[in-house]
């Protein structure tokens, strides 16, 4: 991996020598990668390179299936908690680290309940408190104006782009420190895509963001840093500008220019 001057940025999280196994099969090999606060980090690489596997480690998603195993660390700052440590409660991790998926997956509930859900789990039941959180999260997700008059309507009736923003609002409701996006626009049309991209740029004023994308132009447009992964290993991590104008590693060059394969 090539070094990078990041003296101006603050670490939000970092993986150190992270290995991950699906049963016997090793999917990640010694991944060490920083995530900087108030920055967008894009993960790019061909299908099967481990981007999503890596992203899911941050949210302990792999714990849902038996036989999966982590080695190494994913440190969340400032308190330096090891997210993948067995002693750490995955529910706590998910309060601090929100995730948005490829396909919008609202709960079959009202718009309001979708956003309030995380806070309810946390034990917040006061209507005034929930109202406030729901409004803030919907505002931050740039959805409030479109849904404020029908908060009790079913989330399933929203358009795809709106559903995805609702999922972002749901993730934002618990005031996470880190947001994970797993190809958040691959199921959306160009207009909805550009709204999400704008939103990502807005949100990074407050939180650290990691985004997995197959759309290289999207990575180039929205991210500050880009990590290129191949076969479960990190090939290059660099400033996005550098990655797309003059990458340091030949393999990255081949990938971003489409010479790959």
């Amino acid at each position: 991996m090539k070094a990078l001057d990041v003296s101006q940025t603050v670490l939000k999280a970092e993986s150190q020598g992270l290995n991950f196994f699906y049963g016997q099969a090793q999917a990640l090999h010694g991944l060490s990668l920083p995530v900087y606060d108030r920055c967008v980090t894009a993960l790019i690489g061909p299908s099967g390179c481990g981007k999503t596997t890596y992203l899911r480690c941050f949210n302990r998603m792999h714990d849902l299936y038996p036989g999966n195993r982590y080695e190494g660390e994913v440190i969340l700052y400032p308190d330096r908690v090891n997210i993948v440590g067995p002693e750490v409660d995955p529910i706590e991790v998910r309060m601090r680290i929100g995730m948005v998926f490829q396909k919008p997956n609202p709960f079959p509930k009202s718009i309001y309940e979708n956003v309030a859900y995380g806070m309810r789990i946390r034990g917040v039941s006061s209507k005034a408190d929930l109202d406030m959180v729901v409004e803030r999260a919907l505002q931050e997700a740039a959805l409030w104006g479109e849904v404020k008059d029908r908060l009790q309507a079913s989330a399933m009736n929203l358009s795809g782009g709106q559903q995805q923003r609702l999922c972002i609002a749901r993730a934002l409701a618990t005031s996470p420190e880190l947001l994970l996006f797993d190809e958040p626009t691959s199921a959306l049309d160009p207009t909805a895509t550009s709204r999400i991209e704008e939103l990502v740029t807005e949100l990074k004023q407050k939180v650290a963001i990691v985004i997995v994308t197959h759309n290289m132009q999207q990575a180039a447009r929205v991210s500050d840093h880009t990590a290129f992964m191949y076969e479960g290993r990190l090939v290059e991590f660099n400033r996005t500008e550098k990655m797309f104008t003059n990458p340091s590693v030949k393999l990255t060059e081949d990938y971003v220019t489409g010479r790959f394969g």
Binding site: M216, Q217, M243, F244, T245, T257, R259, F260, G261
Partner: protein
């Protein structure tokens, strides 16, 4: 993997080289017109500048299309943006060849001021630079590009020498002023062509290495005037 876009890049490179060959010919013919006091040839060079302009527009359009439709990245991006800039540099060289010819036609209205010694040397050196810088582009040869940039000092020195000589002519005999000034201009035009060759060299270094070396060191011996 051979990509469809590689053919487009290859075509673009060919067009740029055709343009380069035409510009080299324009400069060569402008210098010949000066040495042989050939106003007809000078007229032809002026006429043919429009061919170079056409190349410039066409290459620009191709590059803009590639940028818009292919969104090239990394070395592809550096190639397309460099091609665009090289085209501009070449177009300016051709303009300067045209300017030389305009002065040649004016100079031909009076007897030759002096035998031309430094001007053909400057021109020969400059043409070599233009040729080598285009070679460096084709072969992606940053070392050759660096050599061209270094060669510019030699042309600058000759330009200094020429200016001193022409100034002494003007001081000794004011009747030579018109011709001496026109020759001074020609010297400056040639020196500018060498500068454009240097610019191309710097662009080639960027294309190959991704390093911007322009404006890094102020030219120590850039001729004043």
């Amino acid at each position: 993997m051979q990509r469809h876009i590689d053919q487009e890049f290859s075509d673009l490179k060919d067009r740029l080289l055709q343009m380069g060959a035409l510009v080299e010919e324009q400069i060569d013919r402008a210098i010949t017109a000066m040495i042989e006091r050939d106003a007809v040839l000078a007229g032809e060079v002026i006429e043919r500048d429009m061919l170079v302009n056409r190349f410039d527009v066409e290459i620009d359009e191709t590059c803009i299309r590639l940028l818009a439709l292919q969104a090239p990245a990394a070395k592809d991006l550096r190639f397309v943006t460099t091609a665009m800039k090289i085209s501009t540099e070449l177009e300016r060289m051709s303009d300067l060849a045209e300017n030389i010819c305009e002065r040649v036609i004016e100079l031909n209205e009076e007897p030759q001021l002096k035998p031309y010694i430094d001007l053909p040397r400057m021109a020969a050196w400059t043409m070599k630079m233009v040729h080598e810088t285009l070679d460096a582009f084709v072969r992606q040869d940053a070392a050759l590009a660096r050599k061209v940039c270094a060669d510019d000092d030699f042309v600058d020195n000759l330009t200094h020498q020429l200016f001193r000589e022409l100034v002494s002519f003007m001081i000794e005999n004011p009747a030579t002023i018109t011709r001496a000034i026109r020759l001074t201009f020609i010297g400056k035009y040639i020196e500018r062509i060498a500068d454009h060759a240097t610019n191309i060299g710097e662009l080639v270094i960027y294309m190959v290495e991704g390093k911007i070396v322009r404006h890094m060191t102020p030219p120590a011996t850039s001729p004043t005037l």
